[in-house]
């Protein structure tokens, strides 16, 4: 087990370094003086000189990278051109907002889709299986932003059950904050439901075709014992991996949902920064989301042996 954890950690570190290099290079691909780009229209000779000194922009590229990484370790991602605020605290604030949509949607999606996927596999090719798979395919063919708009039309404008758009902080008004999050979470939940259900069904079908399941059935075990005690843990492994990928993808992809419901999340911060050509924020968001993605997948890998102990043993 120790070797397994060590192996996964040593795989994640080079990936993080390569991602940092890519983000560093990407921003330096933009033609022009990086200091002028980072200061924007407000740049003056004194400000430019100070920034060049701070980031070592007058030195060689490897030296610049070393300075950038050392500042990174101190949590210094620079300041936003548009707002003047420090980049890292802004990113963390917005990240927490995005998490309030993404995490409940994934948790609810998993709780509903995994049993449904297993049920569909259990009833393979029956009417209930075909109905569930058709619904799942339909759900994942609907783009989240359109789904969000349709839900807004129905529940916000037509039925008037929830406010149309907006955002409130839980610390200020928990009830309002909850109500504002209902539709965005529902939108993501419905989309992820389709994705997770199909994966849960496919992996359950794979497991149900294995000899040990045939053996369990031949012993006369009741079907619910076969499904939950013998099939579930093995079948959940691939779905568990998928959840890590979904979480990471959503941190970048949630921008469309945040746009529909005007929620000030991390995705929206990145898109607004691209519009404003706010390069320190763009660089910070790219690095932060990619790092979270790698870390989440590392956690997923490390927890995988809980569902399939063979992985750690290999």
């Amino acid at each position: 087990m120790f070797r397994f954890v060590l192996g996964r950690l040593t795989m994640a570190i080079p990936t993080l370094v390569l991602v940092a290099i890519t983000v560093f290079v990407l921003i330096r691909l933009i033609p022009g003086d990086p200091a002028a780009l980072m200061l924007g229209d407000a740049s003056d000779a004194q400000g430019l000189a100070a920034l060049r000194e701070r980031f070592g922009l007058d030195r060689s590229i490897p030296e610049q990278f070393a300075i950038w990484v050392s500042l990174l370790f101190q949590g210094d991602l620079g300041r936003s051109i548009a707002t003047g605020h420090e980049v890292l605290p802004s990113i963390i604030d917005r990240f927490l907002v995005s998490l309030r949509i993404v995490v409940p949607a994934i948790v609810l999606g998993t709780l509903v889709a995994v049993p449904l996927g297993m049920f569909a596999a259990w009833k393979q090719n029956g009417l209930r299986d075909v109905t569930l798979v058709s619904c799942a395919t339909l759900l994942l063919s609907i783009p989240t932003f359109w789904m969000g708009m349709l839900l807004l039309l129905l529940f916000g404008l037509h039925l008037r059950w929830v406010p149309i758009v907006g955002y409130a902080d839980f610390s200020e008004d928990p009830k309002r904050a909850f109500v504002y999050l209902v539709l965005p979470v529902l939108t993501l939940f419905l989309h992820e439901l389709g994705v997770i259900l199909r994966m849960a069904r496919a992996s359950t079908l794979e497991v149900l075709s294995l000899d040990y399941i045939t053996h369990a059935r031949a012993k006369g075990l009741p079907e619910h014992v076969v499904m939950w005690k013998h099939a579930f843990r093995n079948a959940f492994g691939p779905t568990w991996t998928l959840l890590g990928l979904i979480l990471g993808n959503l941190l970048a992809g949630v921008a469309v949902i945040e746009t529909v419901f005007t929620i000030p999340g991390l995705g929206r911060l990145l898109v607004d920064a691209i519009f404003a050509r706010d390069y320190p924020v763009i660089q910070g968001c790219l690095l932060f989301i990619a790092a979270i993605y790698i870390l989440v997948n590392l956690m997923v890998d490390l927890l995988y042996p809980f569902f399939d102990p063979r992985i750690a043993a290999r």
């Binding site: 609907i142 708009m149 039309l153 992809g253 746009t259 763009i282 993605y293």
Partner: protein, 272 residues
């Protein structure tokens, strides 16, 4: 008819309709998609404008047809870019191995380390949100999946007798790759290319919805939906038709992809 057959027919039909509408949209539309007519502003679907008009009185059917053409063009070019470059790198990496393999896979792993659209967004920030910028950035992120699939297939093939026989006969590596290895990659590539087609239509619509796609007034399904947000309570047709176009296209591609996967990969038949 079995499930794969139904998927193939429905998926094929929807994709066929998309292609026909896109092709017609490239050369002809009932009205000029950019012509404004304030007298017909936010007109409901009717005889004059079958799918209604937008806030500038522009005919929505014409804009949807041109949007289909844009989506298909971007999607097709993205698929070509991703599949061609991914196949070249994948075959080279898997066949030659050694340092070439290590370098290609290291670069590929960096692309795969960025979630979903993130790398595309970063690249668009650098090169600008133009049609070719979108194709390049989407093509690069989907290329990484192609490289992985092709390399995996090639690794499984390079020790097979027919490949070794080709080397023994004195054929050059390039000839062996082209004549003997590449044809064996066609089945997995066809399935993956169908998926990339769907991903790129969705990604292009999402980028357009965010304002990072093809710039208005040129119509795309994504920017039509984005501009409809201000008229949710007045013109529901502005929300329904562009979204329906994206969803039906994605549904067709997903069904076709499922059917092709079942046909070309018999191991998946049971699971599907």
């Amino acid at each position: 008819m079995n499930k794969s057959g139904i998927n193939l027919y429905i998926g094929g039909l929807l994709v066929g309709v998309l292609l026909v509408v896109a092709l017609i949209g490239m050369v002809w539309t009932p009205h000029d998609p950019l012509a404004m007519n304030f007298a017909a502003r936010l007109a409901a679907p009717g005889a004059a404008h079958w799918l209604g008009t937008d806030e500038f009185g522009r005919d929505q059917l014409s804009r949807l047809m041109q949007g289909a053409a844009t989506s298909v063009k971007i999607s097709a070019l993205t698929v070509i870019f991703a599949v061609v470059s991914g196949t070249v790198f994948g075959v080279t990496s898997g066949f030659l191995r050694g340092w070439v393999d290590r370098v290609i896979m290291a670069v590929n792993d960096v692309l795969l380390a960025f979630p979903g659209l993130l790398f595309a967004l970063g690249l668009l920030a650098v090169i600008g949100a133009t049609e070719y910028g979108i194709i390049l950035s989407l093509g690069l992120i989907y290329m990484s999946s192609v490289v992985r699939v092709v390399r995996g297939t090639v690794l499984g093939l390079r020790t097979r007798e027919f490949v070794e026989a080709s080397a023994v006969m004195g054929n050059a590596s390039l000839f062996t790759m082209w004549r003997h290895i590449l044809p064996n990659c066609v089945a997995p590539l066809t399935v993956l290319a169908t998926s990339i087609c769907g991903w790129s239509i969705l990604a292009e619509s999402s980028l357009s919805f965010l304002g990072l796609g093809v710039a208005p007034p040129a119509p795309t399904w994504g920017n039509m939906l984005a501009s409809s947000r201000g008229f949710l309570d007045q013109a529901v047709w502005l929300v329904v038709f562009p979204g329906l176009s994206i969803s039906l296209s994605l549904l067709g591609i997903n069904l076709l992809g499922d059917a092709l996967r079942d046909l070309l990969d018999p191991r998946m038949r049971k699971r599907a």
